[in-house]
């Protein structure tokens, strides 16, 4: 188990290195001039100033040297220097981290708290109106554009009922968090409900369930001891991958609710063509996703003792 954990953590490193290369190439293939000109259009640079800026930002170097400088910084946890702001990318990104994490954690809590029980009930009451209703709800949940759902909620709770603030961070008050977190959680909730239902249906057909029933265990005990645990193993694996949809959607939800997180910074930096900031945001979001999947894999090893991890 310990060796497995260490190996899994070591696998993490090449993945993030390759992703950093892909993202670096993707965002930097444009020649330096294109980047600098579009990024600083409003500053109206003359030729000597442009030359100086190019040198200052290291854009006069060839691509592989720039990558080397970049990765050297990255190892020390330095994401580079912003093109537009007079500050490092770290400084721009740092205050955005907690708002995004807060939003994602609450959204995930809502999704897990509602989605998984819903999937269970659906599967245990297969074919009843409850099953049909939750599954229609779930397919609607994965089909609804979240920014539209957010707009409707905004109209209902902020404009008509005036119960919740329409947008903004509000110095971190909980009341500002409710609508964005719910909006963000809905899609993942629906995915989890569908995954859980499918997993329970599959587990219920297994021989060990029939054995458990045959040996006289109560239905409650069968569900608790056999169905739940085996289902969670199946749900966890897909839930980790599907977490990508939630973390990707933070971009939209943050933009909609003017939430000062990584996602809205990412969109702003794309419009400003501030490549180092875009790159920093992308890397951090992917890192969060990878860490979640790492944790899921480790959890998987804990709850599934059947598998030997050599």
């Amino acid at each position: 188990m310990f060796a497995y954990a260490v190996r899994r953590i070591l696998q993490f490193i090449p993945t993030i290195v390759i992703i950093s290369i892909i993202m670096f190439i993707l965002l930097n293939v444009l020649p330096g001039d294109a980047i600098i000109m579009s990024g600083n259009m409003r500053r109206q640079l003359d030729e000597t100033a442009a030359q100086a800026l190019r040198k200052e930002l290291g854009l006069d170097q060839p691509l592989h040297i720039r990558y080397y400088t970049y990765i050297k910084g990255l190892v020390r946890g330095d994401l580079g220097k912003s093109f537009l702001r007079q500050e490092s990318v770290n400084k721009a990104v740092a205050p955005r981290l907690w708002p995004t994490l807060k939003l994602a954690i609450l959204a995930m809590a809502i999704a897990v708290g509602v989605g998984i029980p819903l999937g269970f009930v659906s599967a245990l009451k297969q074919g009843t109106w409850m099953d049909t209703a939750s599954m229609v709800g779930a397919v609607s949940g994965i089909s609804v554009p979240q920014f539209w759902l957010g707009l409707l909620l905004m109209y209902l709770f902020a404009v008509m009922l005036r119960w919740l603030p329409p947008q903004g961070y509000g110095e971190g008050s909980f009341i500002h968090l409710i609508m964005p977190a719910f909006t963000l959680g809905v899609g993942y909730m629906a995915l989890l409900a569908r995954t859980t239902r499918a997993a329970v249906v599959e587990v219920l057909t297994q021989d060990y369930i029939r054995t458990a029933r045959a040996k006289g265990l109560s239905e409650l005990k069968v569900n608790k001891k056999h169905v739940f645990r085996n289902t969670m193993i199946l749900v966890l694996t897909t839930a980790g991958l599907q977490f990508g949809s939630l973390i990707g959607q933070t971009v939209i939800v943050e933009k909609l609710f003017s939430w000062p997180g990584i996602g809205s910074l990412l969109v702003d930096s794309i419009f400003q063509r501030d490549i180092p900031v875009t790159q920093g945001c992308v890397l951090i979001i992917i890192l969060v996703f990878l860490v979640v999947n790492l944790v899921v894999d480790l959890l998987y090893a804990v709850i599934d003792p059947r598998i030997e991890y050599k």
Binding site: L27, S140, P145, W148, V159, R194, A198, S245, G248, I286
Partner: protein, 280 residues
């Protein structure tokens, strides 16, 4: 005939999803005939922000354009983005999966490595990074989405090739002197049509959602071209004075995507009941 109807009745999601999809396709094909006004040219500030009424069934926007006509025309953008980008994804996935499975060795490692990397980048974030490189615009959305969602197709194709290679009919085809290319097309591809159709249908739904999201952010379709996501971007500002602007374009996205997802679910149930549910 009555047999088919009976079968369809047992597959409500296939039936409902198929009908919705058909309606959206008709809407896109006959947009010019169906819409009462021109989506961009019939702007009249005298009619700005009219609520839904007999003359404008869905109301008008801040420039006095008929929202119904814009929603109808928006289906062309959504469907073409969905179909074209998913076609790109399918092509990339099949080509990479087939060659990886057939040629194996280092090429297989490269393709599988690439697939795993793609799966470890949230698709929305990858699409945004490509948009950051290419800049805003509809054509760039086609490209960004067409490069993002091929990993499932690639995996399924590859595993099908690997399992088919040891099957008797493929061995027989080999013994008969069929070349690799011929085996690919005659023995392997027909077997993966089912799963690829399912992934493709869900992929079109996914691409439509993502295009709407990108246009909502201002990165996708640029005004005045009517796109559902773009129309909603404007709606937030007008929410207090004209809330109907934000209802109908969103409803159009929702129903279209719901239809495709239902169709995909239904197809999966009849074509390959054993595929695990996927979603990213």
């Amino acid at each position: 005939m009555s047999d088919t109807i009976k079968k369809l009745k047992r597959q409500p999601s296939l039936l409902v999803g198929g009908l919705i999809t058909l309606l959206v396709i008709i809407m896109a094909l006959f947009a010019g005939v169906l819409s009462p006004y021109h989506p961009t040219d019939d702007a009249d500030l005298m009619n700005s922000e009219e609520p839904p009424q007999a003359r404008f069934l869905f109301g008008t926007d801040e420039q006095g354009r008929d929202i119904l006509s814009r929603v109808i025309h928006g289906s062309k953008i959504s469907l073409s983005v969905g179909l074209v980008s998913q076609a790109m994804n399918t092509a990339i996935g099949i080509i990479l999966g087939l060659t990886a499975g057939f040629f194996g060795k280092w090429w297989d490692d490269v393709v599988m490595g690439l697939t795993n990397i793609m799966l470890s980048i949230p698709s929305m974030i990858f699409a945004l990074a490509v948009m950051a490189l290419l800049g805003p615009g509809l054509i760039n959305v086609f490209i960004a989405l067409g490069l993002t969602n091929w990993s499932y197709t690639c995996r399924i194709t590859r595993s099908q090739v690997l399992s088919a290679r040891s099957l008797d009919y493929v061995k027989a085809a080999r013994a008969l002197g069929y070349g690799r290319i011929r085996i690919m097309f005659t023995q392997i591809l027909p077997n993966i049509v089912g799963p690829i159709l399912v992934i493709g249908t869900l992929g079109v739904a996914w691409a439509i959602l993502l295009e709407a999201s990108l246009s909502f952010l201002g990165l996708g379709t640029q005004p005045p071209t009517p796109s559902w996501g773009g129309m909603l971007a404007m709606a937030r500002e007008q929410m207090f004075t004209a809330p109907w602007i934000c209802i109908f374009p969103g409803l159009a996205i929702f129903i279209t995507v719901l239809g495709l997802n239902l169709l995909g679910d239904g197809l999966r149930d009849i074509l390959d009941p054993h595929t695990t549910r996927l979603g990213k």
